[in-house]
Assembly symmetry: C2
Homo-oligomer: 340 residues x 2
């Protein structure tokens, strides 16, 4: 491609998965920053913290005691946003429309070690997390009430994470969330039209172009998507189409764990800090429909822009208009690649 | 309506203007908060700050000197995300799609007084801001290159605002931003189908229902929309359809200024702090098309949830799924109404 205009002038890029745009202003990267700086905690955490409600053997707020777990530990969220036995109702009152929504929210501790993040865990231990995600996707997906399973992690205080113990969440529910619905439509339309898989075709193009690829192994590619919104946004995806994470072979799971390890380590090196982000896996709904148009992928949305304390604010224009970024996806990919 | 299920159980509500959903979990409002607290600045600002690049007579980073302005002052953004003479180009390379985007970005100082926010300004002075917005909408809208004018404000360090001097921004551009495109489609479809105006019909329903209305005067209504995302999100809209702010009469402009004054004052009282938010006006594109389906409105998206230091984080589930809120729109409206 090598279109130098993309590195010099403002333009918008199209997200093939959501059908939405991002505004890119490469010339703006030199803007001085006089605004809010984030705090960083440099304190080294202990492996066990007696005041942490996620550490093994500690008591949670509802009185339950965590087992003395040795790898992954999963429990139902004590303050779940979705509940499994709330009543079914709907409101259809003129222009007021609401639908009840049921679901199950779980918390997944990645490790008993309070001091570790995914970046500091062994690939073999991350692989155990992958297997736990598979198991939950299966169990929740088999539940009649559940049609979609959202696996995600909020890492770092700046991402609303209230406990540094390494953990993620799984919210599963009856209907498809907004973002999943958009990706479902885009992938389905492409599949119908081309009898081919949208994300697989895109990844092949990226493997050829190289400039946005950060890392590859036999099964996975790690790249900054052409339409990335967050400064150092990254996607991990299987090179060959798989509709959900259950399609992973054992070595596929290991290669996926390796990809997670590689990118989270690079992130921590970038600004020499435990890099905050939200990550999430988008995959086929568990609604019993034919979802062959789906190609699962994991995305990382990290807020930091220039240093451990200066983040990108998605505010005014971004909320009312279109997400906006300064540093291009190509430059971000190069910076991360150079850290491997 | 008075559907008590909406106050007790998780459900999703439909945003008629964007066609997207919000997840509401009223039972979750009691969740304890152990995460990040925001800093608040309680420092009383001087009326003039010699280090502020927005104060009258001071020199900006590019060497220009601000005039000794007496009310509103507008200039072109020194680090504009959009430029008016960047080249036109497009990329259509397989699944990579990009389009050049041109525009004009301006900064608008609401007052020469460094210490004031809209909440602390007189209604007559806010009315001058309204007239300045009208003037800019006209000038920019008449520009051949500009098809949409986004007026917005980021207030508070937590909203990425890098200077406490009261000011907003105006980004105008060739194409419609994502959020505007969505609202354009929803309003146009409704207008075609019903030969009636979506937002006006909705407002009439709210005036009748009362429970989400915070304030009314002859021309304007201030309410929490049924589908509000942010904890204390508010919309100001003219009761009778107007496609853009140029349709305001002189007393309409005064009543609009009053509505802004009332809600920003209530906000400051809510947590006894200078309340941060992003606000923005969505109105008809300036693309020369028939935009009679448009009904302009101003929205406030404030992040604070429980106190001056505890905000709502729109992270993991919200980024990958659907925006989620705990406190309902009805409760939020009541709390703000009780402060008037
Ligand atoms: O233009 P400012 O005030 O420097 O910057 C602020 O507003 C912009 C428009 O919403 C955002 O893109 C920036 O992230 C934010 O920090
Ligand atoms: O569930 P937690 O970790 O308490 O809460 C965090 O993640 C949730 C899911 O993304 C968000 O809704 C909350 O705003 C955030 O603080």
């Amino acid at each position: 491609m090598e279109n130098t205009n993309l590195q010099d002038y403002s333009h918008k890029r199209f997200n093939i998965l959501t059908g939405e745009w991002v505004l890119v202003s490469p010339h703006r990267a030199k803007r001085p920053w006089q605004g809010q700086n984030e705090e960083i905690s440099t304190e080294k955490r202990p492996s066990y913290d007696e005041s942490c409600y996620l550490c093994p053997t500690n008591t949670r707020i509802n009185g339950e005691v965590n087992p003395d777990y040795k790898d992954v530990f999963i429990f139902t969220n004590d303050f779940a946003a979705l509940q499994k036995d709330s009543p079914t109702f709907s409101v259809n009152d003129g222009l007021l429309r609401a639908e009840s929504e049921r679901g199950i929210c779980k918390v997944i501790c990645f490790s008993p070690d309070h001091s570790k993040s995914l970046a500091e865990m062994e690939v073999a231990d991350i692989k155990k997390v992958v297997h736990a995600w598979q198991k939950e996707y299966t169990i929740l997906g088999e539940n009649e009430m559940i049609n979609y399973v959202q696996i995600f992690e909020n890492k770092g205080a700046v991402m609303g994470c209230s406990n540094p113990h390494p953990h993620g969440q799984i919210w599963s529910q009856s209907t498809l969330p907004n973002e999943v619905e958009k990706k479902d439509i885009q992938q389905r339309n492409y599949f119908k039209e081309k009898n081919s898989n949208l994300l697989e075709d895109y990844l092949n193009q990226e493997i050829e172009a190289k400039e946005r690829v950060i890392f590859e192994n036999d099964d996975f590619i790690v790249l900054t998507p052409f339409w990335a919104v967050w400064p150092f946004e990254v996607m991990i995806a299987p090179k060959k189409q798989q509709k959900n994470i259950l399609a992973l072979t054992d070595s596929g799971a290991k290669n996926y764990a390796e990809a997670i390890s590689v990118i989270t380590k690079a992130y921590d090196k970038l600004f020499n800090t435990s890099f905050p982000y939200s990550s999430g896996i988008h995959q086929a709904p568990t609604n019993g429909k034919n979802n062959d148009h789906w190609h699962w992928h994991m995305s990382f949305y990290p807020p930091l822009l220039r240093s451990a304390t200066v983040k990108k604010f998605m505010v005014g224009y971004e909320m009312f208009g279109t997400p906006q970024r300064d540093i291009t996806a190509e430059i971000a990919a190069k910076r991360l690649r150079d850290l491997l």
